[in-house]
């Protein structure tokens, strides 16, 4: 009761103390807020994405296992449904088509998926967004993937012209739909989503059946399994069942492109949520240690007085804990608001890439609660040592002034640089060296902000380098064409006869399973000609290599995932045609950043497949003046499955980076500046508070304001200068870790940090530091010269 009455004025003191150091409090609160905001944003987005995806998958019965065959009897469904652990099976016909969109130069890749006749709940069902499903007996009606329809401004009733199974046809769009298979809609073989260049078209089964000559047969099976079932086992059994029908190997959800992409994104979010916030909290804890330590020093006599009045150590401690908690709460509130706002923005950004029927940011209360608790705990722990000092301070000692700040001759003199510095220089260096731990931590704080910047900015360098290697160092073709069916080598002459085609490289690719010990990968094995002039393969040193006549050549990422080295024997199972199986040595490993690829000489692959010299894809160099007629010729050819323009892919990739990376990098610049400002501003304020008397004395002795300010700035400059190289080294290693973390099946990043990135990070941090220092330097002019002379420190 008595304590309650007595504490009230103490609480008023608390509020006034807080107001007195409000600038510093804001700086610290913002650092805490940045940590909370990152965590709230990342965990909330992670949760929203995971839950939305989960609900979407369940509602639309997204498959667990995917399998493709050349031609399987429709009755295969029943055999697969009987496999132990399988809960639901749908069979469909999936085909490729080439759409002729008036707004596009080049023909657009599309995929056709059949809709079964019966009304059974379908695995991989779509969600109709507008219009209706195609009616039986209307063979022209299609439902189109909504992202494609939106990208082209298609409305129900619009006509689409396409080259489908060798016939030019006009379809009528009757509806748009979303599908869990195409949340991330990416064309086969591509690694950039492009809503304009990839469409999905759902048609009635009868239409697709007739066009592809597959009456009573299917070529694509999607399977749901029971939660407790083992997918590997079921995959093996499905492979056995489909083998006679040209099965190309079933695969689990983890290898489904759309699903894999979202997984990658979720992984990155959880990395963000787990790595970044602790950095902010550590910095905030350090800053609170600094500020509360200083507060307790200046309130030494008041603490003595309070104790003399009968306040116990605990009451005094609690008083300062409340001070820290108040700052923590301000940070938490700002962080929550900012985190929710950021979460909404990021989620909105995601809706551009991921096509969900709905996606809303939802605050993850559990994680947010943990974030709040962690922040407040870190804040109190940061200040704990200083608060303990206040608690154990004996009143009699507290009310005496503290012993004079003692300096001794030290490092400076031993190093012999003392004489090189003027008096001001010595003041700076001695003050920094007098509290080595605090100086080092201040520098480390600034170094963190440099490191944080480098670890985000390097992505641009690495992606830039990856694009350079992929699109400029190794590929020179203008167009890549794939054929519906394997073609004899004379197809090269056919292509060269099209006006404007300057050069042709033929390729043959075939689905294979590569096995080494217990590791196994499904992919397309590419047969290349050694004399191919429109693309090349590079070894680890970046030198061009020529494919050897024997064995198999792997990209480095594939070699890693199969755990093979040059000379190891690989089992190659071809998953089409006569399905030959051979054991062959790995003869070379090439350095590639995109995809996991395997190569052989084309003649060797043709021999392995027991077929005459032939190809199913070609790279073309063309005369740009003939581009349109070449497109027209290719689109009209029933043999052409798809045409990709290298420049368009590159363009799209750059646009994707601009959309996503630039925003992310702006966040990081904001975060890093928050840390730099928080650390430098607080350190400057503490320094000014500790040395106000000295600095005022110098003003009295005839030093100008700018000369005195220079002492303050000099100290900060010294700490920031020390932080820059440390931050660059920290940033380098952090970035290297992130690059490794970032590697996915689709592409990996060559790890590179350009010197300009180090420079840019340094400039941002220096600019933030200068800004913070200027805020404090203003206070030098307000130093009270007279009162400082009248009072004892």
């Amino acid at each position: 009761m008595v304590a309650g009455r007595l504490l009230a004025p103490l609480d008023r003191k608390l509020l006034r103390d807080l107001w007195h150091v409000r600038g510093q409090i804001v700086a610290i609160a913002l650092v805490i807020a940045a940590g909370i905001a990152t965590m709230v944003m990342a965990s909330g987005t992670l949760n929203s994405l995971t839950e939305t995806r989960q609900a979407y998958y369940e509602r639309n019965r997204f498959a667990d296992i995917f399998a493709h065959a050349r031609r399987a009897p429709a009755g295969i469904v029943d055999d697969i449904a009987r496999i132990e652990g399988v809960s639901r099976v749908s069979a469909r016909i999936v085909q490729e088509l080439l759409v002729d969109m008036p707004a596009m130069d080049e023909p657009v890749r599309g995929r056709v998926i059949s809709l079964p006749r019966d009304g059974d709940p379908r695995v991989n069902d779509f969600t109709l967004r507008t219009g209706r499903e195609p009616r039986e007996g209307y063979p022209d009606e299609v439902v189109v993937l909504q992202s494609f329809a939106d990208a082209h401004g298609l409305e129900p009733g619009d006509t689409i012209t396409a080259n489908f199974m060798g016939t030019r046809r006009h379809f009528v769009m009757v509806g748009t739909a979303l599908s869990p298979e195409f949340i991330y809609a990416i064309a086969p073989g591509s690694f950039v989503p492009d809503d304009r260049r990839f469409g999905v078209f759902w048609m009635n089964e009868r239409v697709v059946e007739a066009a592809s000559n597959l009456e009573g047969a299917v070529n694509d099976i999607v399977v749901q399994i029971r939660r407790d079932a083992a997918p590997d086992d079921i995959i093996r059994q499905i492979d056995t069942l489909l083998e006679p029908f040209g099965g190309t190997g079933a695969y689990a959800r983890t290898d489904q492109p759309s699903h894999a992409f979202i997984e990658g994104e979720l992984d990155q979010l959880s990395v963000l949520a787990s790595i970044v916030p602790p950095v902010f909290l550590a910095v905030a804890a350090f800053l609170l240690n600094l500020v509360v330590g200083r507060l307790i020093d200046t309130e030494r006599e008041q603490i003595g007085l309070l104790k003399a009045f009968g306040y116990g150590g605990l009451s005094v401690g609690w008083h300062y804990v409340k001070f820290v908690l108040a700052i923590g709460v301000v940070g938490v509130v700002i962080g929550m608001v900012a985190g929710i706002w950021l979460g909404h923005s990021v989620t909105r950004l995601y809706t551009g890439f991921f096509h969900f029927p709905f996606l809303h940011f939802r605050l993850d209360f559990g994680t947010a609660g943990i974030a709040v608790a962690a922040s407040l705990t870190a804040a109190v722990l940061g200040a704990a040592l200083s608060i303990r000092r206040a608690m154990v301070l004996a009143p009699a000692i507290a009310m005496r002034p503290p012993p004079p700040t003692s300096y001794r001759r030290g490092l400076l003199e031993r190093a012999g640089i003392s004489s090189l510095l003027g008096a001001a220089g010595r003041m700076v260096v001695r003050h920094v060296l007098r509290t080595p731990v605090r100086s080092a931590l201040t520098s480390l704080g600034v170094a963190f902000s440099v490191a944080l910047l480098i670890s985000s900015l390097f992505f641009l360098d690495s992606i830039d380098r990856m694009l350079e290697i992929f699109f400029e160092d190794t590929q020179y073709q203008d167009l890549s064409v794939s054929f519906v069916e394997r073609r004899g080598d004379d197809v090269a002459n056919d292509l060269l006869h099209i006006a404007g085609v300057l050069a042709v490289d033929l390729h043959r690719s075939a689905p294979v399973r590569l096995t080494h010990g217990t590791r196994s990968e499904r992919l397309a094995l590419t047969g290349r000609d050694p004399q191919a002039s429109l693309s090349r393969l590079l070894d680890a040193d970046g030198d061009e290599i020529v494919l050897p006549g024997q064995g198999i050549t792997l990209s480095n990422s594939l070699a890693t995932s199969l755990d093979v080295e040059v000379g190891d024997i690989l089992r190659v199972e071809v998953l089409e045609g006569r399905r030959p199986v051979i054991d062959t040595p790995v003869t070379l490993i090439v350095r590639e950043y995109v995809g996991a690829n395997a190569y052989m000489r084309r003649d060797a692959l043709n021999r392995l497949l027991q077929e005459p010299p032939s190809a199913n894809a070609a790279d073309l160099a063309i005369d740009p003046g003939f581009q349109e007629t070449i497109y027209a010729a290719l689109t009209e050819s029933p043999q052409v499955l798809g045409v990709d323009r290298r420049a368009a892919t590159l363009e799209r990739f750059r646009a994707l980076i601009d959309d996503s990376m630039v925003t992310t990098i702006l966040f990081y610049i904001g975060f890093a500046s928050t840390i730099a400002v928080g650390v430098v501003y607080n350190s400057a304020r503490i320094s000014l508070a500790e040395r106000g008397r000295e600095l005022a004395s110098m003003r009295v002795l005839g030093y100008h304001r700018h000369e005195v300010a220079l002492i303050l700035v000099g100290e900060l400059a010294l700490l920031v200068a020390a932080a820059l190289p440390v931050g660059c080294v920290l940033g380098y290693f952090l970035a290297r870790g992130m690059a490794t973390e970032f590697a996915s099946d689709l592409f990996r990043l060559p790890f590179i940090v350009y010197p300009s990135t180090f420079a840019f990070a340094a400039i941002i941090v220096i600019a933030a530091s200068i800004g913070a220092a200027l805020l404090v330097v203003r206070r030098v002019s307000r130093l009270d010269l007279i009162s400082v002379l009248k009072t004892r420190e």
Partner: protein, 245 residues
Amino acid sequence: MPAPEPAREATVETAFRIGSLTKTYQVGETEVHALRGIDLVLPEGELIVILGPSGSGKSTMLNILGGLDRPTTGSVRFHDTELGDLDDGALTRYRREHVGFIFQFYNLIPSLTARENVALVTEIASRPMQPEEALSLVGLGHRLDHFPSQLSGGEQQRVAVARAIAKQPGVLLCDEPTGALDSQTGIAVLETLDTVNRELGTTTLIITHNVVIADMADRVVTFADGMTTEVRENVRRKAPAELTW
């Protein structure tokens, strides 16, 4: 307009000429009239002791003479310069070139040694003596490389004296220079000030409320309630060693 030149009549030049000086502070919501119209002429080369109780305005006047504060009304001339007309930068230059300060609490820079504390001033002065020479003058030639925390109070104050005289200032302003010292140490410091005044001819103002110190002055000015109540000249200046309190 400069005043006519009555000072020329005397053989001694005038260091400060103070006319109708007032200083009013706003402290919270009340006005404090620290100086209520001071007229005073302080001749060059003298050792002047200013006496008065706390709050009598003596420190305020010292601050104005030292260029740390500005008069509210009236005139303060240092030789030919009207201090009230100087802007902040010019006041800083005035302090730098002409004024040596000594304070009750020494105000040494703790991170600098005795020699470096003196060098702090000699680095920016136009015709300084060597720091070592200044420290020898105050009897600290053997403690050059000690930090303030390694020196006694009296030694610290003597470093402050050395720092003040090293620039060879026109005027030495001492605000309670012995206030924090025991009498024996205080007298040692006063001896130093006396020596400097005699040997270098530096006009020296000492503020104190210790009446005994007045005996070592050429001239004693007594303050009360923001005004001068008495200005007297001592017939004989006592040596500091003769003083006791």
